[in-house]
């Protein structure tokens, strides 16, 4: 039997223990996250989740061990999602909330050559703290309208320097870094999350909040319509119910040409509008002075 280092045994032990003691276990990829943002992220996770970076092989062993000890083979499915530089994150947040939280805690990061732009990169118009130098020429070469104003470099107008998916060149990275523009994003990339026998992938977890909001609104409108249409009054709908009844009554009266204090205006108005519209169809010489107005 191959010798296994003592620290590895201990590490697996600890990881398995974590996996066993939280309802939600997520795998995250930290390969692209530099040390500093990573420590920032650890901070923001404090109190919400426990986060451990380890070796992929040790995570795999720990998952299998936890699955066996819990008698829950489902957890082992997470092994298939280990990728990059994996870390393990255990929490009580539901996987959807966890995903949302991780997305929201992504931080802007400086430009790196060779990396695709996650979205259009814009150099905004306005003054910069940069002093005149060779950089101005480089900017102009890249189509950035830079000028010297009051002894500093100033950008004349908002300029898109790179479209989504285009690769950042070393020259551009340098310029963006000098300007203090951070076009990239770093954060923990969720690979998969397990809870209650189900493994959730990012595609499933990326919920469209707008859609839920429109569903809420639709549900509310349904309730509103139901309440008003069957005249079941609630605090929110009593006014609409009264208005519906009133307008129904008024419309019937107007349609019938039954003049009351409330309908006189509508009925006379309607008759007048009809007359006006008819008058519009008539030749000019037929109209008297008043109608022409």
């Amino acid at each position: 039997m191959a010798h296994v280092a003592e620290w590895k045994k201990k590490e697996v032990e600890e990881l398995a223990e974590l996996i066993k003691s939280y309802p939600v276990v997520a795998l995250v990829d930290v390969a692209d996250v530099p040390a500093y943002p990573l420590s920032k992220m650890r901070e923001s996770l404090r109190g919400k989740a426990i986060f451990r970076v380890s070796r992929n092989t040790l995570i795999e062993i720990a998952l299998r061990k936890a699955a066996q000890e819990l008698g829950n083979p489902e957890i082992e499915k997470l092994v298939d999602y280990i990728q990059g530089g994996a870390g393990i994150l255990v929490t009580e947040m539901n996987p959807f909330k966890l995903y949302k939280f991780l997305e929201e805690s992504k931080k802007p990061a400086p430009a790196k050559p060779g990396v695709p732009a996650p979205r259009d990169i814009v150099v905004p118009a306005g003054p910069t703290p940069l002093s005149p130098g060779p950089l101005v020429g480089e900017m102009q070469a890249l189509g950035i309208p830079a000028r010297i104003e009051k002894g500093k470099v100033s950008i004349q107008k908002d300029t898109v320097v790179l479209k989504t998916g285009e690769i950042i060149t070393p020259q551009l990275a340098n310029i963006l870094n000098q300007l203090g523009i951070e076009p990239l994003e770093v954060g923990l990339k969720l690979l998969a999350a397990y809870e209650d026998g189900i493994v959730y992938t990012p595609e499933v977890l990326a919920i469209d909040e707008e859609q839920y909001i429109s569903m809420l609104q639709q549900a509310y409108m349904h309730a509103f319509n139901l309440s008003v249409n069957v005249a079941y009054p609630t605090k929110q709908t009593i006014e609409a119910i009264i208005q519906k009844a009133f307008l129904g009554a008024k419309n019937v009266a107007v349609e019938a040409g039954y003049v009351t204090k409330e309908t006189a205006g509508d009925i006379l108005g309607k008759a007048f509008r009809i007359a006006l519209l008819i008058a519009q169809e008539l030749p000019e010489e037929l109209l008297d002075e008043k109608t022409k107005e």
């Binding site: 040409g257 039954y258 003049v259 006189a264 205006g265 509508d266 006379l268 108005g269 008759a271 007048f272």
Partner: protein, 68 residues
């Protein structure tokens, strides 16, 4: 609606809107007149400033046309 048009015709012609006048008009048009409707109409129009009402009716046009 013929009762309403009769009232407006009288108004446009500068005549008073009375039961008799409306009745006359409707009869001239060959309408079999329902006295109750004439009565009710004249009563309802009492105190109504027709000129004003008509002007307002033309107004929504202006309001509606307003929003940019």
């Amino acid at each position: 609606m013929e009762y309403v048009y009769a009232a407006l015709l009288l108004h446009a012609a500068g005549k008073e809107i009375t039961e008799e006048n409306i009745k006359n008009l409707l009869q001239a048009a060959g309408v079999e007149v329902d006295d109750a409707r004439v009565k009710a109409l004249v009563a309802a129009l009492e105190g109504v400033n027709i000129e004003e009402v008509i002007e307002k009716a033309a107004m929504p046009v202006a309001v509606a046309a307003a929003p940019a």
